[in-house]
């Protein structure tokens, strides 16, 4: 419905001298319940991002007041002596919609939930609609509905989600895990020795991997080291177009680019980086479909979608069975600090086969962390991490690090 109005805005921008223009409109209606608080919440949000490229200079308007945007205003903003470019795409008309059962609601879950104490639980349902239009005649409409559950154990929120609200059994399981984590950290005593090996849980692998990915797309791009060895031989990292069943629903990105399967690391070697349309032109690469905005109506930048990290390995039981008292199973991060490539962690974990909870301080070289992998679990686990408002699906194994 915004598209008719959008065509008019793009015409105005083009007639003001733009060589390229596009717009993205987003509509998100959310219902939120924080258990035990008794206050239902609702967010009706929208956002419109309109961009024009004028002789290499960008002008951008970001607003939730959809009726007030004039193309001429975008032209007035373009400024400077930049040499910005954007990759042009073939015309396309795409409509995507995940199956939406309008009857499903977080409120229907409430009556079946057990009484929950000592952890915070937030249930969220989000109904999304995105529309995109550009002067290279790409017209895209996407719609999906998603349910999240956030469990807070007092300090950290863990999130999971799906196309249907979580079952009471899943809520109970997540609550039990959060309570177990809290009990564990209360018992923690300092471990001052350097462990010989560290087993990282998939959640921690996800956090470190996202930090690593951030450093793998440098600005300026002349520091980019494609074909450099970054991991051990069997490490494969891919970023996939997120399927419609995923929280990070993005078959088409926020710049109208169809996602393609992108292999970032093949056999331990960095072979690709994620790009948006602007950085693709800058790097001279084909766009990867990673232009994502971290806020509603925000400016897109290269961002992961659906990361899958694999390396050959044993079962988790086998790996755990080989651990001894000089090894640490790291379960939770309390602090991460970055200084260049050096990463310092404070975390809680267990020593080898002994059921003793310790707090420890570790140093890792972020650049080399994938090169220090000794072993990975065969089984992969998926979690949802966040960059601003964007959920990122990350699937990883447990990894044993040197």
């Amino acid at each position: 419905m915004i598209l008719d109005q959008g065509r008019k805005i793009l015409e105005e921008i083009t007639s003001s001298g733009a060589e390229f223009a596009d717009l993205r409109a987003e509509f998100v209606n959310s219902n939120i319940i924080r258990l035990g608080e008794g206050i239902p919440r609702r967010r009706n949000e929208k956002g419109l991002l309109v961009r024009g490229l004028f002789r290499g200079n960008w002008g951008v308007v970001s607003t939730n007041q959809l009726d007030n945007v004039k193309g001429g205003e975008v032209a007035k903003l373009s400024f400077g002596d930049e040499r910005g470019k954007v990759v042009r795409l073939k015309p396309a008309k795409i409509e995507l919609s995940s199956p939406i059962d309008e009857g499903l609601s977080i409120y229907s879950l409430l009556q079946d939930l057990p009484k929950i104490k000592d952890v915070e639980v937030e249930l969220i349902e989000e109904d999304w609609k995105k529309e995109y239009l550009s002067t290279d005649e790409r017209e895209i409409e996407q719609r999906w509905k998603f349910f999240f559950i956030k469990i807070g154990d007092g300090e950290e929120w863990r999130v999971t989600g799906g196309l249907v609200p979580p079952s009471p059994e899943i809520v109970e399981k997540l609550v039990d895990e959060a309570l177990e984590m809290r009990t564990m950290e209360r018992k923690a005593s300092w471990f001052n020795n350097y462990p010989k090996r560290i087993l990282l849980t998939p959640r921690l692998v996800s956090k470190l991997l996202l930090l690593w990915i951030k450093t793998a797309s440098p600005e300026p791009p002349d520091q980019l080291k494609i074909d450099e060895r970054v991991g051990v031989e069997h490490v494969q990292v891919k970023d996939l177009p997120a399927p419609l069943s995923s929280a990070s629903n993005l078959f088409v990105d926020d710049e109208g680019v169809e996602g393609r399967e992108l292999t970032l690391i093949s056999n331990g070697v960095l072979i690709n980086v994620m790009t948006d349309r602007s950085s693709s032109a800058y790097y001279g690469l084909r766009p990867t479909g990673n232009g994502r905005a971290s806020t509603i109506g925000g400016v897109p930048s290269p961002t992961p979608r659906n990361i899958v990290f694999q390396c050959e390995g044993d079962t988790l039981d086998q790996i755990e069975g080989e651990l001894n008292q000089q090894d640490l199973i790291l379960l939770r991060l309390r602090n991460v600090s970055l200084m260049g490539n050096q990463i310092e962690l404070i975390g809680d974990g267990k020593i080898g086969e002994v059921d003793k909870v310790v707090r420890t301080k570790l140093e890792l070289n972020l650049k080399n962390f994938l090169q220090n992998i000794i072993e990975c679990s065969k089984d992969l686990y998926t979690s949802i991490e966040w960059i601003g408002r964007i959920p990122i699906k990350v699937t990883t194994p447990f990894i044993l690090l040197r």
Partner: protein, 389 residues
């Protein structure tokens, strides 16, 4: 006027249905220019209406940008709420004074001039950074009393030396604020390397002190924080000050329309409150009602002002620190990046110290550098004993 008429009409209809309501409206009109690989100016125009409605002790909260069709939605949500006698809509207080708008500022001209002054268009690409200039209009309208509004001017500057991790930033409500000159005139020096280790007294520059306080101490004022709340030591004085003229985080009234005033923080830090939280926990209302972006009415500090009578000198001044990602704020590693010796020599260093925020608050002393404002925190340099490793 159109906006106020819409809200007035909505409140009249809500009252007819027996719904008590407060609407906090925030309209932002800013230009943000960011220079990374390219210079990109973004005109941001945003209007958000935060609605809290109460009927029969049941409350609901809504974030929207328009009020049409909203009354039926509120009715539906109210039916799902749970009764709580602490839920109430209070009457706003009349505005006493507001001085947060710079009437001389012309945002259209100012952002271009500031981009130029920060040398973000320098063809050498030496400088990157951000300029934001604009206005924020805040208002509170209620079924329970007369509304009030104020306009806040916002100027934000950040200048980064490309290649080196050195930067300066500031925000203000006035172009003539000297704190903005600090950013415009920022120029990096050539850096050698300085080796440091062992137990040492360091003086954290106002910028570094403010970064640590914002990250570690500010959340102790949030009602939701379950982590440790520290005690302000004998050597520091701390004030939550919503009335700082040059700070764009200041406000003459909170999100429920109550007049704000400075609060001296003595002893253990206690969480701030709004009307509901104060009733629920039987505490005084600190008039700190704030809507957070996720659409929830809670309480937040505005500006934290630190002063100290002590002027302890550290062996070195820490001028820049690295990134800290803190998951629970109980213990953090602070990577030191740039230090200045007492002799004036400045250099990069590769060392760090572990900091427990509670101990930091209790044991730190005032340093020798005068207070400066960084974001929500105004502080002099702070001196503390650390073990470097």
């Amino acid at each position: 006027m159109n906006k106020l008429n819409d809200i007035d009409l909505f409140l009249t209809k809500a009252k007819e249905r027996g719904i008590a309501c407060t609407i906090y409206a925030e309209e932002r009109d800013t230009v943000l220019v960011r220079k990374k690989a390219h210079l990109t100016p973004v005109h941001q125009i945003e209007k958000n209406l935060y609605v809290r409605a109460v009927r029969g002790n049941r409350a609901v909260e809504l974030l929207t940008d328009e009020l049409s069709d909203t009354l039926d939605l509120l009715e539906n949500l109210l039916a799902r709420g749970e009764p709580d006698p602490n839920n109430e809509i209070i009457s706003p207080e009349p505005l006493d004074e507001s001085y947060l708008e710079d009437p001389k500022l012309n945002p259209e001209e100012s952002w271009r001039e500031l981009v130029d002054e920060l040398r973000l268009m320098d063809p050498s690409g030496r400088w990157t950074g951000e300029v934001m200039v604009g206005k924020i209009n805040r208002s509170v309208q209620s079924t329970e009393g007369k509304g009030l509004e104020e306009t806040v001017t916002l100027i934000y500057l950040r200048k980064i030396e490309a290649g080196l991790n050195l930067q300066e930033f500031s925000s203000s409500t006035r172009l003539e604020d000297p704190e903005l000159r600090r950013v415009i005139e920022f120029s990096s020096e050539s850096l050698g390397e300085i080796e440091l280790k062992g137990e040492i007294t360091v003086e954290l520059s106002p910028k570094v002190s403010a970064k640590l306080i914002e990250k570690l101490i500010l959340p102790m004022f949030f009602p939701e924080t379950s982590g440790p709340r520290g005690t302000v030591g004998m050597n520091l004085r701390m004030t939550e000050d919503p009335r700082m003229q040059f700070s764009p985080y200041s406000r003459s009234f909170d999100a429920e329309g109550l007049r704000t005033s400075p609060i001296a923080i003595k002893g253990r830090i206690d969480f701030l409150t709004n009307s509901t939280i104060s009733r629920r926990f039987r505490r005084p209302n600190t008039r700190s009602a704030t809507w957070i972006r996720e659409g929830r009415l809670t309480a937040r500090p505005t500006n934290l002002r630190i002063t100290s009578e002590s002027k302890e000198e550290g062996r070195v001044i820490v001028e820049e620190i690295g990134e800290i990602e803190s998951y629970d704020r109980s213990l953090v590693i602070v990577p030191i990046q740039v230090v200045r010796k007492r002799t004036g020599e400045i250099g990069l260093t590769y060392t760090k110290f572990v900091l427990d925020p509670v101990t930091f608050l209790e044991q730190t002393k005032g340093g020798t550098m005068k207070p400066m404002r960084y974001g929500r925190v105004t502080t002099p340099s702070l001196t503390l004993d650390v073990k470097l490793y």
